[in-house]
Symmetry: C2
Subunit: 199 residues, 2 copies
DNA sequence: CTATTTTTGAACTAAATAGTACATAAAAGC
DNA sequence: GCTTTTATGTACTATTTAGTTCAAAAATAG
């Protein structure tokens, strides 16, 4: 950042924000528990002492990663919405998951939902934070539905929050169902169901 | 078991089937990775040497646990179906999850779906088996829908396998959505959506 | 009663884990 | 230049993990 007050002492040899993005991508790919510091630190390009000096602990780092993930996702969705509209943004979320499955054979899923399961009952602080992040998404999707209802792209007259909740649940289900190894025909039909909800 | 051929050598001091049930319950409560042998073995009531002698490895045990889980669940569902009918059995599956959440504040979820996520990309053998177990459920739920359509409890004329797939996906979503910390109102409305599907 | 077979308890191993300690390096302030 | 401050590299620690070793125990077969 420009104009930042110069601090005394030896300057950091890495960019904190860049390292955080690298950490986010590693966690997203591997999950929280399966990310060991011995593998994460090379991916972040820093050494252990720098890590603990800057980020305090694995859990504290992950808390910042969750925050960053929500910000990045919501801002990407906002950009997408400006390009293709609110309804199409919702549809594309499901579409992209299915396309990823088709092209790569696997699916990364949503960092928040994946971590939700990992942290449930086990890391209560993180779990609490995930609930708060989830609520941001819930409200954002509700606003997307409201907008699509207003411009006539969604004619379903149910309350926007109800449609958004059902949408989120089906998207979450899609991940779990894919990870349980469901056949492609089942996945494809869930996509149909999602489109029907948004008609 | 009666009439089993007496084997030579020192007899087992525990019942293999009972130990397997205890293991299943422990795994169900704690997940695969968070179940350490040091905690599992006391819960099973056996010592390490007996464990490895009988069950070979943690992964081999879990494979048997998954098999047992599917058998127990499908047989419980079959009993429930005889009592309350096919449609009500499906509805009660969702209802029981929500009730568990209300009463205890948490939810154990489906061992198979939970493990699906844990094993995805990491334990490919188990992941493959989970896909097979999932297919048993998919076919069983399809048969329940078919039966409910035949007796008029479900009037939705979509193919039974389509309804069953959508149902499974919403149930799986319910778990993920609860674990992500969604508000109760969202959960309750997903239950409404499930009932609408089965109308 | 003795040989054979199988199970069991206790102690051990090797690898991985998150986190620490500390000396050294590199900057700013004066 | 000297002091203060902050960052870094290397080595270490304590704990936990799945799995092994092996001698002793408890049964059957003859």
């Amino acid at each position: 950042m420009l104009f930042m007050k110069q601090t005394r002492g030896r300057p950091k040899a890495f960019d904190e924000d860049e390292a955080l993005v690298l950490a986010m991508n590693y966690f997203w790919e591997h999950g929280y528990d399966d990310t060991s510091l011995d593998n994460l630190l090379p991916a972040m390009g820093i050494k252990k002492s720098s890590f603990y000096h800057t980020f305090k602990s694995k859990e504290a780092l992950f808390s910042r990663v969750l925050d960053l993930y929500r910000k990045e996702m919501l801002s990407s969705l906002e950009i997408l919405k400006k390009q293709v509209g609110a309804k199409q943004t919702l549809i594309m979320m499901a579409q992209m998951t299915i396309q990823e499955l088709r092209e790569t054979g696997t699916v990364k899923g949503c960092l928040m939902v994946n971590s939700g399961q990992e942290c449930y009952k086990k890391y209560t602080n993180l779990s609490q934070q995930i609930a708060e992040e989830f609520d941001y998404f819930y409200r954002y999707f509700t606003s997307l539905v409201k907008e699509a209802q207003a411009n006539g792209d969604i004619t379903n007259t149910k309350e926007a929050s109800v449609i958004a909740g059902r949408f989120l649940n089906m998207i979450n289900g899609l991940l779990a169902t894919i990870q349980a190894g469901a056949p492609q025909v089942l996945i494809d039909d869930v996509f149909e169901q999602i489109k029907e909800l948004l008609e």
